[in-house]
Amino acid sequence: MKHDQQINKNNRLNRYLISWPPLLFLLVFFALPSLIMLLTSFRFPGEFGGLAPIAPTAEETNHEYGLTLETYQFFFSDIIYAEIFLKSLTVAAITTLICLVMAYPLALFIARSQKRFRNLMIMLVILPFASNFLIRIYAWMIILGPESAFSYLINTILALFGIAPVTLLFSSFAVLVGMVYVHLPFMILPLYTNLEKHDPVLLDAAQDLGANSWQRFWRITLPQSLPGIFAGSALVFIPVLGMFAVPDILGGTGDILIGNLIKDQFLGSRDWPFGATLSIMLTLVVLAIVGLVTWLARPANRQTITNDGT
């Protein structure tokens, strides 16, 4: 009918009207900057930061100009960059794992609490966001500092076993603590969102069919929460890879990560093209890992019993 067609047309028009602002936003503030970053990585650095001109100028012809693969050659010529990448990946992986182990029981506890307490508990989880990120990190400087009660306690316990006192601050340990602290809510929230949706009758059914509490967790709750685990892990792993503030403030001289390296290229060494190259390499590594995980998690790779030989 004509009237219906009109409604359909309006619906489609509405859909475009609603979706173009975010699309435009992504285009202008994500796709375009990525493209600029990619181009930057093939340029020469300017003399005082910034970039060298694409074409030779009249007053300065001896300067390098145009496009080059130099930064990429530089990246692969020195093993140190691969080492920093590997170290950053390790820190990100360990942080993700600790967050997962810490967040899962809490998320499960909240999801299985009475409905009226759940929102309050979730609010408490996100409450730290109410104060400034840097202030919270500086607070850890005090907590981990050599004069702190925490340090004193740790060193007293170590002394009981005859171990020499340790400095907690400005170490890989401090970096890890900071990373876990900052990113824990990002693991709890997607896990909770997933676990809250689980149908409790499935646990009844599993128990009825002979599964004890451990088996119910491994065979029913955990497999169903995999999407939440993947989402939470991505939300922790990826930001940790790029994080520079935590190692800057809590780490020692040897705790430099990719994030710090990239920041230094832009602000310290003023080598924009190399900073861009590092960013591009980081993006590629992240994409490769996400791709690999997605491929591993696809349903066809899950083990199933099939009975008709297919």
């Binding site: 128990q207 029913i220 199933t304 019993i305 008709d308």
Partner: protein
């Protein structure tokens, strides 16, 4: 000895007694149905038998062993849930093999038995599918197969046919009878549908307000209800207020208010003067035309007040001289006939002596 014995079971939620001193027993190999309106306590009773809830008092004895304190996973009882409760992250084959894995069967054994189970429920080609890729009837069959595969001593079924459409439900009822017969496993079936209960069960326990009103075979329950609740809940029933006038050896003489004296078979002990109702099933009421009152020698005179044509039968509502209405069900055996009587037609209402029952008012 009975397979399942429920002794004096009570379960309260706050002040509300969901199950009130219930006792009954289920024989091995029986298809036993708990029937009652929603809120009558049948689901609570099932959860107690399965072990999800603990009773306040009483015992549950399975095969001579007291299982009242046993957790659900340790009871040789499986449940088919109303919502099927299939595991969404597992294939059909994995769902069915779940109980076998839990009891630690060997993979080769599991594979063979799952294959057999899939075959039994006609889902041979569906082993690799996920539950969300199945129709309602197929999901239902997976749930049956999963409940039966580990051969529990008792299978509890919680309104499993409730979510299916009418036609599929009838097919599934036949399938369920066959599954029960072939497996020989004792079924305790829960439903609020009297048709389902009558069609499927060997014995039915009719429940209301947390107590059992009558336990008997479907035909006994239907033809000889013990009380007004059962008579009214199972099928339709006409009831006319009556009082016992006299008691003879085999029959009761009743004074039916505004109609006169009616005789019925005496089944249970009542006293002269007891108040109650005379109950007759609509399909046991016959109605006939009459032109002069002399033709109506046997029965009560009445007037057709309304009728309802539903295809296979027509229900006539006949008003009696005392103002009460009585329903008569007549089968439409002759093709092309939609109704035999018109509204306002004078008719003679009658029933066979054995059809009428006296049910005394409950104190």
């Amino acid at each position: 000895m009975a397979l399942l014995e429920i002794c004096n079971l009570t379960k309260s939620f706050g002040d509300f007694a969901a199950i009130d001193k219930v006792s009954f027993s289920v024989e091995a190999g029986e298809f036993f149905t708990l029937l009652g309106p929603s809120g009558c306590g049948k689901t609570t009773l099932l959860r107690l038998i399965a072990g999800f809830d603990a009773p306040d008092t009483g015992q549950i004895i399975l095969d001579g062993m007291d299982i009242t304190q046993l957790p659900p996973e340790k009871r040789p009882i499986h449940t088919v849930f109303q919502s099927y409760a299939l595991f969404p992250h597992m294939t059909v084959a994995d769902n069915i093999s779940f109980p076998l894995k839990m009891s630690g069967e060997l993979p080769a054994e599991i594979k063979a038995r799952v294959k057999q189970a899939l075959n039994d429920v006609q889902l041979t080609k569906f082993g690799h599918r996920f539950p969300q890729e199945l129709s309602g009837g197929q999901k239902q069959r997976v749930a049956f197969a999963r409940g039966l595969i580990n051969r529990p001593q008792l299978l509890l079924l919680d309104e499993p046919l409730g979510a299916l459409d009418e036609k599929l439900r009838v097919d599934m009822q036949r399938e369920l009878i066959k599954l029960q017969k072939d497996s020989g496993i004792t079924f305790v079936f829960i439903t609020h549908s009297q048709n389902e209960a009558l069609a499927l069960s060997h014995r039915i326990a009719v429940m209301n307000h947390g107590t059992i009103k009558q336990i008997d075979t479907p035909s006994q329950i239907y033809n000889f209800p013990d009380n007004y609740f059962v008579a009214n809940f199972i099928g339709k029933i006409n009831s006319l207020n009556a009082q016992v006038l006299a008691i003879t050896d085999q029959q009761l003489e009743l004074e039916v208010t505004g109609l006169g004296v009616v005789k019925v078979l005496s089944k249970e002990a009542v006293n002269v003067g007891a108040q109650g109702v005379i109950a007759i099933r609509p399909e046991q009421v016959t109605i006939k035309y009459y032109s002069t009152p002399e033709e109506a020698v046997d029965g009560f005179l009445g007037k057709v007040k309304d009728f309802l044509y539903v295809g296979d039968v027509t229900t006539y509502l006949v008003q009696l001289p005392n103002g009460a209405c009585i329903e008569a069900l007549t089968p439409n055996a002759t093709p092309g006939r939609t109704q035999f009587f018109n509204i306002g037609d004078p008719v003679v209402v009658n029933w066979e002596y054995a059809s009428g029952k006296f049910l005394k008012n409950e104190a």
